[in-house]
């Protein structure tokens, strides 16, 4: 029976928060329908999509008519509502607080700083046809280094995962952001064994879902490499 799922998510897998949501849905096996929104083609600006989300952003979740934006909120809503393993967003207050702390910090550190590198190396040159603005890129990479230092010293420290002994939604959000510069062929973790080991643990925990979510990003990277 091909029932139309009550849970729908509107995604573009080139978008980091969309990938985090996609991986969570795969890992938790929540029945859902994916509606692809191609940002590159401006599909987020169509009247149909704008009616769903006036902010014209992805991801968007529609659960039995209830529309929700912002990946943190969507992820936390799904974990709270459906029967998923507790480790994703633990109920124990101190463990939950650690995840809330990371997801807040993420917005002002991991997300903007990693995204900026991708923006400068891939998106802007593709959109404008101009070469990469080297000075801006140097500054962005430097800022990203600071953020990676903080990820290692403030969150990871000696723990296997960002918020403790077990993988949480924080790790999904973080890893998807840190993968983004790979679209431009840049591995920002290449000199960071601590974060590399963390990334391997995340990949092992989520299995095939990792590469499946990142297939579009890999394809972009491979297309760019082929042009060189």
């Amino acid at each position: 029976m091909a029932a139309r799922q009550a849970l729908q998510v509107h995604l573009d897998l080139l978008s980091q928060p969309c990938r985090a949501l996609h991986i969570l849905l795969a890992c938790t096996r929540l029945p859902h329908t994916v509606r692809h929104v191609a940002l590159r083609k401006g599909e987020h600006r169509t009247p149909e999509f704008t009616e769903i989300n006036p902010m014209q952003k992805v991801p968007v979740m529609v659960d039995n008519g209830f529309i929700l934006t912002e990946s943190d909120a969507i992820i936390k809503y799904l974990v709270n509502k459906y029967d998923v393993p507790d480790h994703w967003y633990p109920r124990q207050p101190e463990r939950r607080a650690r995840v809330d702390e990371y997801t807040a910090w993420h917005h002002t550190h991991t997300r903007p700083h990693a995204a900026k590198v991708f923006l400068l190396e891939v998106l802007l040159p593709a959109q404008t046809g101009s070469p990469v603005e080297e000075q801006h890129l140097i500054r962005a990479l430097s800022q990203l280094q600071e953020t990676l230092d903080q990820l290692e010293s403030m969150f990871l420290r000696r723990q296997p995962f960002l918020c403790g002994d077990d993988i949480t939604v924080a790790d999904l959000l973080a890893v998807c952001e840190l993968m983004q510069p790979e679209g431009g062929g840049r591995d920002i973790l290449q000199d960071r064994p601590l974060l590399q080991r963390w990334k391997s643990r995340v990949r092992a925990a989520v299995g095939d879902a990792f590469d499946q979510a990142h297939a579009v990003l890999y394809a972009l990277r491979d297309r760019r490499r082929a042009k060189l």
Binding site: S71, A97, W105
Partner: protein, 241 residues
């Protein structure tokens, strides 16, 4: 046992945490951290928070930063009235949605206007180009519009009929550019009405007490020692300009 709250009331998220603690009679001790004096870089504070940001909470051995996390933790631990963070998943999701969105929207834009309009020219004595100021105000206008049209709509508060953590986090941010002299409420009847409701729900006395410092900013910068901020001047200019 009282929780320790490390705060500087010039900082928006510190204000939301303090209002929440006071309004709910949460046993707490305030430890003032003066950002202007760089106290967040001191050894003692480093032991509380490696992240070195305010607000920070210490509850026994447990230390926490980031105001949304602190507010949620306090709400749960002290079993505050349900309306702050309802059990209803959809209302809760609306609050989480706002708490997530606001970081790179109202918070960022309001802070930027505060620094570009007041602190950078008056304390750092650096001229802010007119276009940058106008662009920052435009961005803030965009965020305020979304606050009204998407997050409030026809509701009295962001999550519905009662004040919640979302309104608390929102109001303190909206007050920041106001403190720099920008008339954020002018020509915005919906925002005005919401502000009145939020103030009434918090209590005018508490609201005014917590905002006293920041609202004195325009006066204070006239006598402020600009050299205090020299150590973070480059970082500030890099970030906002």
């Amino acid at each position: 046992m009282a929780v320790e709250l490390y705060l500087d009331l010039l900082s928006q998220p510190c204000r939301s945490v303090l209002i929440f603690a006071k309004i709910n009679n949460i046993p707490h001790e305030v430890r003032n951290i003066s950002l202007m004096d760089g106290e967040q870089y001191g050894d003692h504070f480093g032991k509380i928070s490696l992240i070195r940001k305010v607000p920070a909470l210490r509850d026994g051995d447990f230390c926490l930063t980031e105001s949304p996390a602190i507010l949620l933790y306090l709400a749960q631990k002290f079993q505050t009235p349900e309306h702050w963070y309802p059990a209803d998943l959809q209302q809760r999701a609306r609050i989480d949605e706002y708490l997530s969105w606001q970081h790179c929207a109202i918070r960022l834009h309001g802070s930027k206007v505060f620094w570009l309009k007041l602190m950078i020219p008056e304390v750092l004595h650096v001229e802010v180009p007119k276009e940058k100021m106008e662009a920052a105000v435009e961005e803030l206008n965009g965020s305020l519009k979304l606050l009204e049209e998407k997050f409030l709509q026809d509701r009295p508060f962001i999550a519905g009929g009662h004040i919640s953590l979302a309104d608390l986090v929102a109001i303190v941010e909206v007050m920041q550019p106001l403190a720099a002299g920008l008339d954020v409420f002018g020509g915005r009847p919906k925002l005005n009405a919401w502000r009145d409701r939020v103030q009434a729900a918090i209590g005018k006395e508490l609201f005014d007490e917590v905002h006293q410092n920041i609202l004195g900013s325009q006066e204070r910068v006239k006598v402020m020692d600009g050299s205090k901020l020299e150590f973070s001047k480059a970082k500030i200019l890099n970030f906002f300009m």
